[in-house]
Amino acid sequence: MSRKIIIDPVTRIEGHGKVTIHLDDNNQVIDAKLHVVEFRGFEKFIQGHPYWEAPMLLQRICGICFVSHHLCGAKALDDMIGAGYSTGVSMLPTPEKMRRLAHYMQQLQSHVTAYFYLIVPEMLFGMDAPPEQRNVLGLVEANPELVKRVVALRKWGQEGIKAVLGKRMHGINSIPGGVNQNLSIAARDRLLKGEDGLISIDDVIEYAQDGLKLFYEFHEKNRQQVDSFAEVPALNMSLVGDDGNVDYYHGKMRVVDKNKEIVTELDYHDYLDHFSEATEEWSYMKFPFLKALGREAGSVRVGPLARVNVTKAYSDDTPLAKAALEHFHDYTQGKANDKTLHTNWARSIEILHSAELIKVLLNDPDLQKEPLIITPPKSAWTGEGIGVVEAPRGTLLHHYRANEEGNITFANLVVATTQNNTVMNRSIRSVAESYLGGKAEITEGMLNAIEVSIRAYDPCLSCATHAMGQMPLVLSVFNAKGELVNEFVR
């Protein structure tokens, strides 16, 4: 009797999704799919709004990576008014550094949330641990001192975002052509020195290393499992600067293969020439791919693992992260790393990298300077703009067009989780085959292994920021006739 298993919704991710796994009569995996069943329609309802509202409204897609959406939209509007990269204009130093500072702070904040709140509990307690233990509240009981440090890190990130963007959530600082305020000396000093309930930036860097240490300990104890869990092939994509290394705010889109050879490198303004998107009737989430390579071979991985695969080295002004990245690269002897759980290793490196980048910027006197904005003549208006940034989860793109009255007529958003759609499905299939294949009895721990593979990508399935209450997990097992034969609820 063949069976179908549904995990709905997948828990501890941003947004709602479900997983179906089809088993044949011998309990071998026939198919495994991640379905995204949430539809928000932001691209449609932004149409008709004044162009300058786009970065303000569209950041409300997400309550976690809103800064990325805000900055991506602002970059697109820079283009639109004739003050952006597409028109050959470079952002002024102060506004660009203010935007970068906000971006790095959000990366720190987002990665800390994903890593310590959602992923570490499984690393410490195991995938088979009871669900009531393997979450951050279980961590509070087991290691309150660690949680205290994580809370201090998150608080620092929140206060930093508030200082730079004007609000703790859904900020208002980036405007077409620049920013509306620089960073006051008082705000800078509070973040640097740690006053009024905040830790200092040096403490941030120290605490940021906790994640890396935890991963090393976990890896040491569980090397075989960590290395073999969902090792799936994919191309790797990241924005890179002129030196060919990751630039989280601006650069060219570079794609590398298993040998880290460059497959393609493009100006993101030309993305429509290079990328296409496939659709499936079973999911609202599209499947982007490089046209030249086709859907299967041309699907890319984005996010922390992809970025550390693309990057050769970090700069000397982030020495701790630089050393950590060298160690990471040594592990796969120069080849790209396809091990899904090593995404958490990459994420912990990026937590440290963000913290060190923030310290460099906070000490930059340009943050207190002016001017803050470029105001091009009305004749420079292009009516179209594209912005790309490296969001915590990977490469994020906003593309807008507006009419002569300045109202949005078109919007296209390609978010990181969409880019990862194919590789996430590959990971689910891999884990399903390893953990469920051939097993007569399906345990809660096996199903959690599927979720662990998804959570490694920290997917944002259009974050429901206003969700109320607890999201239940319902697992239903159906026979070949579609009859419910078993059900788990947690």
């Binding site: 201090a152 920021t465 206003h466």
Partner: protein, 176 residues
């Protein structure tokens, strides 16, 4: 301790306080810098805005102006740190619960109820985290006000507005 006003009629202004154990609950005790009044909700989701609306009223009337007043969409684990600096906290939230006719005030105790998701965590879990991580436990009350609609729309429903008025009337009697 549960100081319930669940069965208050909406024409509360004419009711006698003596019938309720709420009589010992006073806003005045929050009018100091070691107190926090925390509105939970979202004004873009109709009656979910009740918590913030209560904070709006406090600000308009300049009540508890020595306390820290905050409005947030949802609780975060970091709130364990926030409450660790305070002695008295009043959370204000909307509720869908039909058992709450108008409003309810209850004292809360710490409890690790493992309710955490990245979008939701309970006040008792926040308190338990505060106790575990920061070795302190403030005095926490929750004021819940009955709401009815949570759709994507600004503005309270008429009935929720009436309930808010009842709450305000109660506290006005206290301060007036």
């Amino acid at each position: 301790m549960n100081l319930s006003a669940s069965h208050l009629p909406s024409s509360f202004a004419n009711s006698s306080l003596e019938h309720f154990s709420l009589e010992h609950f006073s806003l005045e005790q929050y009018n100091n810098s070691s107190s926090l009044i925390y509105g939970i909700g979202n004004v873009g989701r109709q009656d979910d805005g009740l918590g913030w609306a209560f904070i709006d009223w406090l600000e308009q009337e300049k009540l508890c102006d020595k306390a820290e007043l905050v409005r947030h969409y949802q609780l975060h684990l970091e709130d364990a740190d926030l409450i660790s600096y305070k002695k008295k906290i009043l959370f204000v939230d909307a509720t869908k619960s039909k058992s709450v006719k108008t409003f309810e005030i209850e004292q809360l105790s710490p409890k690790m109820d493992f309710s955490f998701t990245s979008h939701a965590i309970s006040i008792p879990s926040i308190m338990a985290t505060c106790q575990q991580c920061f070795d302190c436990l403030p005095d926490v009350y929750l004021l819940t006000i009955r709401g009815y609609e949570w759709e994507l729309q600004e503005g309270l429903t008429q009935q929720a507005q009436l309930n808010l008025t009842t709450v305000i009337d109660y506290f006005k009697r206290e301060v007036g």
